[in-house]
């Protein structure tokens, strides 16, 4: 029985961190689906979004300390607006050689990382949790209130996004643009606008992930690298470009990481996690929920 509760505790921890990866993976997948662009700067966007939220919460703006919820909304909106600006830059890259596109996104990541060091300094800071630090105990399983908030808000955002994409006019236009831009244009859909909205949503989700995680982790300009890599791996494992796949990939990656640390070897957790991702891709090259490409003769 004890072993079962340990397993459940481990999985709960994995779901918590996996929700973070899911939000980052979702942004990666949405941008890829929209423009065919792999944004290797997404980890840096996650970091920038965190700072854009935390500057209001921690009193960096003339000592103003806003409530966490307000800071969250401000951070997400500011990062979304930043996404609209970046879309204009990436619009040119989407159609050029793949190598130029990759260089462009990698370069953007370097720019953002170093810009944040210049503005905020290299030393990071811990963030006070807006909720109690004491865990909620249910049948011996401990869950942090901040993790519950992370999972809850992530779920609301993801469900809201799915509803937006399937029920709203703009959402349908976005999905049409993602399927075939040229035909969408001929149908009167403003493809560039839908791309901009996609970027805004993707960047906003990355900011949401960072701001929700900030009280749990340590905020510093280097915080985006590992999460960005894991978010990308999650998106690929779930099916790059597939929205539900990104969510599934993120949650799974978090659980795999937690179980690797708890049951296999904590020394090689990262290696084991990525090996499992590779194994999944060997059997499902398009990802778990990715579109299966069939060659027709």
């Amino acid at each position: 029985m004890r072993e079962l509760s340990v397993l459940i505790q481990t999985i709960i921890g994995g779901i918590g961190i996996g929700s973070l990866y899911a939000l980052v993976a979702l942004g990666t997948s949405m941008i890829y689906r929209s423009m065919g662009l792999i944004n290797f700067a997404h980890g840096s966007i996650y970091m920038v979004g965190t700072y854009l939220g935390m500057i209001w919460y921690t009193g960096m703006i003339k000592g103003l300390e806003l409530p966490y919820s307000i800071s969250f909304i401000l951070g997400v909106l500011l990062c979304a607006a930043f996404g609209v600006i970046i879309e204009r830059v990436f619009r040119r890259l989407a159609d050029v050689d793949l190598r130029n596109m990759l260089l462009g996104t990698i370069g953007l990541g370097f720019i953002l990382d170093n810009l944040m060091i210049i503005i905020f300094g290299a030393e990071g800071f811990a963030v006070d949790s807006p909720l109690s630090l004491k865990p909620i105990i249910i049948a011996g399983i401990r869950v942090l209130p901040q993790n519950i908030l992370l999972i809850s808000v992530a779920s609301v955002l993801l469900i809201g996004l799915q509803i937006f994409l399937t029920k709203s006019k703009i959402g349908k236009a976005m999905r049409a643009s993602q399927m075939d831009r040229d035909i969408a244009r001929t149908m009167g859909i403003h493809v560039n606008m839908t791309n901009a909205i996609t970027f805004a949503i993707g960047f906003g989700l990355a900011a949401a992930a960072g701001i929700l995680a900030a009280p749990i982790v340590y905020v510093n300009p280097a915080m985006g690298s590992a999460v960005g890599t894991k978010g990308f791996a999650s998106a690929v494992m779930g099916g790059l470009g597939n929205i539900p796949g990104a969510i599934l990939g993120g949650i799974l990656f978090g659980i795999i990481e937690a179980i690797s640390a708890g049951y296999i070897s904590s020394q090689y957790t990262k290696g084991i996690s990525f090996i499992i991702v590779l194994v999944v891709l060997m059997f499902m090259p398009s990802g778990i929920l990715g579109e299966k490409i069939v060659d027709k003769v």
Binding site: L93, G104, A122, A126, L133, L144, N220, A261
Partner: protein
């Protein structure tokens, strides 16, 4: 047209990356000499200064452990500024060159090679962490340049280099007293968690060795990556073994997060660790609530210990606006030893400075009496303390 935008983004990336403090020297010196270089006059002990004496600082200035680089720069800069204000070394001012190795050994080696071949330094701090310090030893040894570090891995001074000097006690001096104390208190079930760097593995090894002296072995030893922030998997596994004591072998940020997460996952036993656990950065991440009761060891007895530490703390606070802590204190101490050696070295060459450093014994520093051993160790004792409520701490008798 399309290529133009690609070109603009690439150029911007290169330009801003070139301006950023990542593995490149600062464009301006960190410390401006307060005196102009002087020419030799009557006294034969005056040095011929055609340019300031240069000391390099190589360390983690960015990344998760950027605070270590910050502490090193603060302590060294304070010492250098005071020395320059007092006339420098034999009338020559000292200039600092700061480099960021991001705590990556490969980057650190590249920078060290540049420092020894191009910068004409009299000595160097290299680096803030044990992995990089170990990687740089052959370079400074070959160049016969004194290399100083506060990395605590014991193997740093076991490489046979006469040019390596440690500014604080080695790892066993931090971990053995903690284990001895806790075993003496009746605890027998220990678990260890640490990072997978040379520092973390070293500290964990010293903890294990200390336990072995009491015929004890850890119930669990779990590792984590240096940049990890979630330790729930490792901690859940450890807690399942029901240890009485959790020994921390991680650096400041990770150790603080581990302490907090361990309590949140229900660990109610004792926690303890070495120097990293004694720092303000540990407290910041653990929070005062979860740091309470945790034991630590430190080479620095605290800012209020005696007149010397109070004066240092006051000068540090005036210069940097923050309270002094152990890393800044220990680099400040070794800088005083370096200054003694530089004054005595004749002629003033890096090799002679290293030789003179080995002759320094009995210098009363902030951390106590310093005596430079043949292998570069300078201190052997630490003090044990404990975090109290509200973020206060006390040293135990």
């Amino acid at each position: 047209m399309k290529c133009k935008w690609v070109f603009v983004v690439l150029v911007l990336a290169l330009a801003i990356s070139a301006c950023a403090p990542k593995a490149t020297p600062t464009p301006e010196p960190v410390v401006e000499p307060t005196a102009e270089p002087v020419v030799v006059v009557e006294e034969p002990t005056k040095e011929v200064c055609t340019e300031p004496l240069k000391i390099a600082i190589i360390g983690a200035m960015t990344g998760t452990n950027a605070i270590l680089g910050e502490w090193m720069v603060r302590g060294v800069t304070l010492a250098v500024e005071e020395k320059n204000a007092a006339g420098g070394i034999k009338g020559c001012p000292i200039k600092l060159l700061v480099y960021d190795d991001t705590a990556d050994p490969t980057t650190s080696v590249t920078i060290a090679q540049k420092v020894v071949s191009e910068d004409n330094v009299i000595a160097a701090w290299a680096t803030t962490n044990s992995s990089c310090a170990l990687a740089d030893i052959p370079i400074f040894q070959a160049a016969k340049i004194p290399q100083m570090t506060f990395g605590t891995n014991v193997t740093i001074t076991q490489q046979g280099s006469p040019y390596i000097f440690r500014s604080c006690p080695a790892g066993p001096a931090f971990e053995t007293p903690i284990v001895d104390f806790l075993v003496g208190e009746g605890f027998t079930k220990f678990a260890i968690i640490g990072d997978n760097t040379a520092y973390g593995k070293g500290e964990a090894q010293y903890q294990t060795d200390a336990l072995a002296k009491h015929n004890l072995t850890p119930l669990a030893y779990e590792q984590h990556g240096a940049d990890d922030k979630d330790f729930s998997g490792q901690l859940t596994k450890i807690i399942n073994t029901e240890p009485e004591v959790l020994l921390l072998a991680s650096s400041e940020v990770a150790a603080g997060l581990i302490a907090k997460q361990a309590r949140q996952l229900g660990f109610e036993g004792v926690m303890a660790g070495g120097q990293a656990v004694s720092t303000p950065k540990f407290l910041e991440n653990a929070t005062a609530e979860f740091a309470e009761g945790i034991y630590f060891t430190s080479g620095y007895p605290g800012n209020d210990y005696n007149d010397q530490t109070k004066a240092f703390a006051a000068a540090y606070k005036a210069r940097w606006g923050v309270e002094a802590e152990t890393h800044g204190a220990n680099v400040y101490d070794l800088m005083q030893v370096l200054f003694i050696a530089m004054e005595n070295a004749d002629p003033l060459t890096p090799d002679n400075v290293a030789t003179e450093m080995h002759k320094v014994c009995g210098y009363q520093g902030l951390q106590g009496e310093m005596c430079v051993a043949e292998n570069g160790e300078t201190l052997t004792t630490t003090m044990m303390g404990q975090w109290l409520a509200g973020g206060e701490f006390k040293f135990l008798e």
